[in-house]
């Protein structure tokens, strides 16, 4: 295929190919006349329209055009609700199309349940969500709305004020629920709803204080309360000796917990509590020394990953009999090079793999690890930006696709290293190459005739985007 220079050339090429995916890729850069031709190509067969309506990569502009095409070309009795439903479910569908669906009388008469799809779509405009909260009566649709993370506090307030109780549980867990709204729901909620509110980031202080003073708080709420950083020192100390290990776990995770309490929790009978202490970024050296000798492997693993652990102690953990602990040391960003030297020769391939993926691992160790036979180690070598280019070039020709993919992911791999991968037998690899800045437009152009439709789509779309950016700069 000859290299193209202008948007018109690319669109014309896509039309000539009579390929709906290439057509969808260039739709955004096409002019009005060209768009008519492209729409004719993409939407004239219902089967193609259905495919595009559902496909995860279909551009927003194509979904908008398809939506308008369906609404325009159908009458009240004959609207193609299968295509419209797929459009409503597609995460790429733009807000305009969703608004048009909601407002379309002929569609509304056909299918009442579509409200649920519009109500849960994250691109639905706030004014439509508000309108649904205010006027719609379909409970399933309103439940979808109460879960939609695009709904703001105002929409949620309208909803729970108009129809109390039914949606409280969802709203109590909604990130946009305001302090006032949570207070309102708390007053009428059961223990589950109240526990969710106590654990909510917007939970008002007055509710935390009142729960703190309640000596008979249900366990569900107490577990949430233990994690709240606004608790008083006395409450934190009191809860640290609670009989329930989940409450103590909450205290072990709580950033406000005093150091003395953390020290005593380092000896807790529950491994889950000690694991939480071992993963804290404000660990004291006393706790570290206690936890180094812990019988629970997971405690030592969390410790081995902890950035607070001094290098000398990391060296000790690197000698642990359990491979997962040694691996955790190798993955610690503060792991000394001398320890990486030791772990690069570990008997466990999973430990050596951790060294191969470690960003600090020097070039000489990468050369050593390149001689390994294990696929995880070699994938790490292929991924690591310290790996010499000659080794990457060799790995790009590996029979193992995981290793070849490592080279594609490597930000340091040069164009020369990547070129043979344009012929890779695995379509996903060719797809991944399209976005690599190391490759130029001429290289990507080779993929426009790829046998896989997704690769063709991405290659056309990539070039279309470049042409769009270039013309904007001109």
């Amino acid at each position: 295929m000859k290299m193209l220079k202008s948007k018109a050339d690319l669109v014309s090429k896509a039309i000539k190919k009579a390929d709906i995916y290439c057509a969808a890729a260039v739709y955004e850069i096409a002019n009005t006349n060209e768009r008519n031709d492209l729409e004719c190509l993409m939407f004239s067969k219902r089967r193609d329209a259905l495919s595009l309506a559902r496909w995860e990569h279909t551009p927003a502009s194509v979904l908008q055009a398809l939506s308008e095409n369906v609404l325009r070309n159908s009458d009240i009795a004959n609207v193609d609700s299968a295509i419209l439903t797929r459009i409503e479910k597609n995460p790429n569908t733009p807000s305009l199309a969703l608004s048009q669906h909601y407002k379309s009388e002929k569609y509304k008469k056909q299918k009442l349940s579509f409200i649920a799809l519009v109500a849960e779509h994250q691109n639905t405009p706030l004014q439509i969500l508000e309108s649904i909260a205010r006027f719609e009566n379909d409970i399933e649709g309103l439940k979808s709305l109460s879960r939609n993370i695009s709904a703001n506090a105002s929409v949620l307030t309208i909803l729970v004020s108009r129809i109390p109780n039914i949606f409280d549980k969802n709203v109590a867990a909604h990130p946009s629920a305001s302090a006032n709204l949570l207070e309102l729901i708390y007053a009428r909620g059961n223990a589950y709803t109240r526990a969710a509110i106590i654990g909510h980031k917007n939970c008002p202080l007055c509710l935390v204080e009142s729960a703190e003073q309640n000596g008979d708080l249900p366990l569900l709420m107490l577990r949430q309360l233990a994690k709240d950083e606004r608790l008083s020192k006395n409450t934190l100390i009191k809860l640290s000796s609670n009989i329930d290990s989940v409450v103590r776990y909450g205290i072990a995770c709580n950033l406000a917990t005093p150091k003395a309490v953390l020290s005593s929790l380092s000896h807790d009978s529950s491994a889950a509590v000690r694991r939480a202490i071992a993963s804290r970024f404000d660990l004291t050296i006393t706790s570290i020394i206690v936890l180094m000798k812990d019988k629970d492997v997971w405690v030592r693993q969390w410790l081995a990953r902890n950035l607070r652990v001094p290098k000398k102690l990391l060296e000790q953990l690197a000698q642990d009999k359990h491979a997962d602990v040694r691996r955790a040391v190798a993955r610690n960003p503060r792991c000394p090079i001398v320890v990486l030297d030791l772990l690069a020769q570990d008997e466990s391939a999973w430990v050596r793999s951790a060294v191969a993926y470690q960003k600090k691992t020097p070039r000489r160790l990468m050369q050593l690890l390149a001689g390994d036979t294990n696929i995880d180690v070699l994938s790490g070598v292929a991924n690591n930006h310290h790996t010499p280019q000659k080794i990457l070039q060799k790995l790009a020709l590996s029979a193992e696709e995981d290793i070849r993919r490592g080279v594609i992911i490597n930000l340091n791999a040069t164009r020369k290293t990547m070129l043979p991968l344009l012929e890779d037998s695995y379509y996903l690899h060719r797809l991944m190459l399209i976005k690599k800045p190391q490759l130029n437009q001429k290289d990507i152009w080779r993929l426009c005739d790829d046998p896989d439709f997704q690769v063709r789509f991405m290659a056309f779309r990539h070039i279309a985007h470049k042409l769009l950016v270039n013309s904007a700069q001109e």
Binding site: H121, V246, S270, R305, A349, S379
Partner: protein, 321 residues
């Protein structure tokens, strides 16, 4: 009276569990009490498996002693060819495994048997044997029949049949292998992927993590949870590509198909086509994702629209108390 022949599979001196599933499938194909289930076991130490194979549903164990302990396609093909000619079974069942793929098709073609692979239902509809297998990348079930075939050879999907319980005392016989020149040589046994890591294709309960897990340290939380829950931790491609879990734990087109899985808990897995190719056949899929539009929900039996870390914490609470 007809005979159903099962070929037992072993690797690294251990019988593979699928062998017992084949016995169960064979037992289900008996049309009368006169029908017999024969289990053939081939290898240099094949008699060592007789006791383990003496289970309910087996009428006879046939020991075929070969010169090599490991699988060899030429030896298996020649041995079974001679055994089928001699015993004249109406059905031959093999595991749908990499071993069988090395010789089953050639054997079926050579003996002019009916043939179907990756079968998960085998039954008689009237007098006609019908095998059900997946088609179009498991999107549809295809029923295959074998008109006018006196012998049908099928490879059976692992996990499709529940093994029968209880021991039995089958007849044990020997069958001499024909002389055959092997064209291959076993040099070394290498377990692909994580070396000492487990084989996820045989795991029944899998917890799988995807991009939603966010950071490498979070992977450890889910490793802990999977360990406590007794699940095998697996992942989608980006997690293995980042080196956060071994490649041997990767499910999907680039990874493995979890053939024996019965419960799959997908945590923060969006459900790309590539990932779903390796797990969508699982009968019970539980998906947890904050995005209600995530593709994984289209195949999940139970869907939870929630933060995976909230669910992880709650599961930990439930399991630790």
């Amino acid at each position: 009276m007809s005979t159903i022949l099962v070929v037992a599979e072993h690797r690294q001196n251990a019988l593979r569990p699928v062998s017992f599933e084949l016995i169960s499938a064979a037992h289900g194909l008996k049309k009368s009490s006169d029908d017999k289930v024969l289990v053939a076991v081939i290898g240099s130490q094949s008699e060592a498996y007789v006791e383990a194979l003496s289970v309910n549903g087996v009428d006879e164990v046939v020991v075929l002693k070969s010169s090599v302990s490991d699988f060899d396609p030429d030896i298996f093909e020649a041995a079974l060819s001679a055994l089928i000619e001699s015993k004249k079974p109406s059905v031959v069942l093999l595991p749908h495994s990499v071993d069988s793929m090395g010789y089953a098709a050639t054997l079926a073609s050579k003996l002019r048997c009916g043939f179907s692979t990756d079968v998960f239902i085998a039954e008689y509809q009237g007098d006609e044997l019908v095998a059900t297998r997946g088609g179009y990348n498991q999107k549809v079930n295809v029923e295959v029949d074998f008109p006018s075939k006196s012998c049908v050879l099928m490879t059976i999907r692992a996990g499709a049949f529940k093994p029968l319980e209880g021991k039995a005392s089958p007849v044990v016989s020997n069958f001499d292998l024909p002389a055959v020149q092997s064209r291959s040589q076993n040099k070394e046994f290498i377990e692909l992927g994580g070396g000492n890591d487990i084989d996820i294709t045989t795991a029944e309960f899998i917890m799988s993590i995807g991009r939603g897990v966010g950071e490498e340290t979070n992977v450890e939380q889910f490793r802990e949870l999977a360990e406590t829950a007794g699940a095998t931790l697996c992942c989608s491609r980006p997690i293995a590509d980042a080196g956060w879990l071994p490649k041997s734990r990767q499910v999907g087109q680039s990874g493995k198909t979890v053939g024996a899985c019965k419960l799959y808990v997908a945590m923060g897995v969006s459900g790309s086509i590539q990932h779903m190719a390796g797990m969508k056949h699982v009968p019970t899929i539980v998906a947890v994702n904050t995005d209600p539009a995530a593709s994984i929900f289209t195949i999940a039996k139970y869907g939870i629209v929630a933060d995976i870390f909230d669910i992880e914490e709650e599961l930990n609470n439930q399991l630790s108390t």
